[in-house]
């Protein structure tokens, strides 16, 4: 009885300090990323390698998921719009939904699942096998060497992949809308030109930039502070992906409010 009554107090007393401690660590880590990111040496070769890993190697899954997302979205909304003879606006609705939400969010989730988990696992393995200690002993800043290139590559590649997702999504949507649902080709396109503004696409790319930063920082953070040997690496990887996913979805809401509340 007493215990249940005290539960909220217990909760506040133990969980909150830990949460604040973790948050503090994250902010210090982000500060370090910026500090070592603007200080030489600038590691262009490592950045390019990471860009290849994060971007180029994700191309296929982005093409595939982009195309099918556009296709299913047109299929669903197109059928609904037919009911009140507004099917010609399907294209513009899908373009706006893709540009503002679906492309940046789904791209971020896909790349994080693939490349973010690898970041946490690689850096975590380096931590538990003392390779990070070895970097320090050899006077190489681990944040500068391991984390900064991954973060820079992510904030470049997340928007680029989002743009590609937009394009193949629209192509897939056009294929289903015009080819399958028989929406008038001219009207489908004219409506896109009429209703979709460059802002709708741009804002999605801005979101992708932030998602890239958030996901890569979280995944590197989780890897960097891995403890408890190889079991810890598995745990760090899982947590990195879960926390990144949740953070992407939560920050998406706030970015949306910031980007659109004046429109």
């Amino acid at each position: 009885m007493k215990k249940t009554l005290l539960f909220p107090a217990y909760y506040l007393g133990t969980i909150l300090p830990r949460l604040f401690h973790a948050l503090g660590e994250v902010f210090i880590f982000i500060g370090d990323i910026i500090r070592y990111g603007i200080k030489p040496p600038f590691r262009f070769k490592l950045i390019l390698e990471q860009m290849e890993f994060i971007g180029v190697n994700s191309l296929f899954i982005i093409l595939l998921s982009g195309a099918f997302t556009g296709m299913v979205f047109v299929f669903q909304t197109g059928q609904a719009f037919f009911k009140f003879n507004a099917e010609t606006i399907t294209g513009s609705v899908v373009a706006i939904a893709l540009g503002r939400e679906l492309a940046p969010v789904l791209t971020a989730l896909m790349i994080t699942g693939r490349a973010g988990s690898a970041m946490a696992a690689q850096i975590g393995t380096m931590r538990v096998t003392q390779q990070i200690d070895a970097l320090v002993a050899l006077r190489v800043e681990p944040i500068n060497y391991l984390v900064v290139p991954r973060v820079i590559a992510s904030i470049c590649m997340f928007p680029l992949m989002t743009g590609i997702f937009d394009m193949v999504g629209m192509l897939g949507g056009y294929f289903v809308g015009v080819g399958l649902l028989d929406i008038n080709k001219g009207a489908f396109i004219t409506n896109i030109e009429w209703y979709v503004r460059p802002d709708d696409i741009m804002s999605g790319l801005i979101k992708a930039f932030f998602f890239g930063f958030i996901a890569s920082a979280i995944c590197c953070y989780k890897g960097y502070f891995t403890t408890n040997g190889t079991r810890g690496v598995g745990l760090a990887t899982t947590q990195a992906v879960v926390i990144s996913f949740v953070s992407i979805l939560i920050s998406d809401y706030f970015l949306t409010v910031l980007l659109y509340n004046h429109a």
Binding site: Q131, A134, A137, R139
Partner: protein
């Protein structure tokens, strides 16, 4: 000279080092022995500031490195070579890239010059022609040797070895022991080494220090150790589980 004064270090509630004192003389080989889990690696990491103590000081030629930050620490670390317990080779690099890494980071040598130095160091550790091997293709003994080549590639004044022979067969253990002695003599350096292996310790040590329950309970040369009657020392030297030393489980 390296001097550790009153060093204490805890992880959470676990007190690992408890007011430890130790002196390692220049150009000598100091061997630190002790059971596993006793805190030997923790102690070694304090020499180059990989861990910060809760209290106490670590003096390198009179400079207290526990008071130093980024720049000062880097200067001190430049004088050390560190062979980690599990070699800590970079697994995304091959052997050549591992050994040449410090040269690339800290010198402006040309590629042919780097190639030449790497070749010399790999020959010194008895591993010619392995430059293109991947890390996961190497045996435990080869890894230690490559780790040593990487540690000495910038010609340090002091080398720290964390269990260079653990997990190796007796022949390889002896070979690495001789390699450490050879490195010590040829480069005229200061060696600090962690070991479990009593016979190779007696062979190469100028001074032996026994770590027990967070303190160095005996420092001295081979003769002083063999003559000592402290039951804990006897138990460790004889390698028996019967005695006052509790088992670390």
């Amino acid at each position: 000279m390296l001097e550790i004064k009153n060093l204490s270090k805890s992880f959470g509630k676990q007190k690992v080092l408890d007011g430890l004192n130790l002196i390692c003389k220049k150009h000598e080989t100091t061997v630190i022995i002790g059971r596993s889990g006793e805190g030997k690696s923790v102690l070694l990491k304090h020499f180059i500031g990989l861990l910060r103590p809760d209290s106490g000081s670590v003096l390198v030629e009179g400079t207290d490195i526990t008071k130093l930050h980024d720049k000062g620490l880097k200067k001190i670390r430049a004088r050390f070579g560190y062979l980690f317990q599990d070699s800590a080779l970079f697994d995304f690099f091959n052997v050549y890239e591992n050994v040449s890494f410090p040269l690339r980071e800290h010198t402006s040598l040309t590629e042919p010059q780097i190639r030449e130095i790497v070749k010399t160091k790999l020959e010194l550790v008895g591993l010619p022609n392995v430059e293109n091997k991947k890390v996961h293709e190497l045996s435990g003994g080869m890894r230690k040797r490559v780790g040593l080549a990487r540690a000495i590639v910038l010609d340090p004044e002091i080398i720290l070895y964390d269990e260079p022979t653990t997990g190796l067969d007796p022949v390889m253990t002896d070979a690495i022991g001789e390699l450490i002695q050879k490195t010590q003599k040829e480069l005229n350096i200061t060696t600090i080494l962690i070991s479990h292996d009593i016979s190779s310790t007696f062979k190469i040590a100028d001074k032996i220090a026994l770590l027990y329950e967070g303190k160095i309970i005996l420092e001295g040369n081979k003769e002083e150790f063999t003559a000592n009657t402290n039951p804990i020392v006897r138990q460790f030297l004889e390698g028996t589980c019967h005695g006052p030393m509790r088992m670390a489980l």
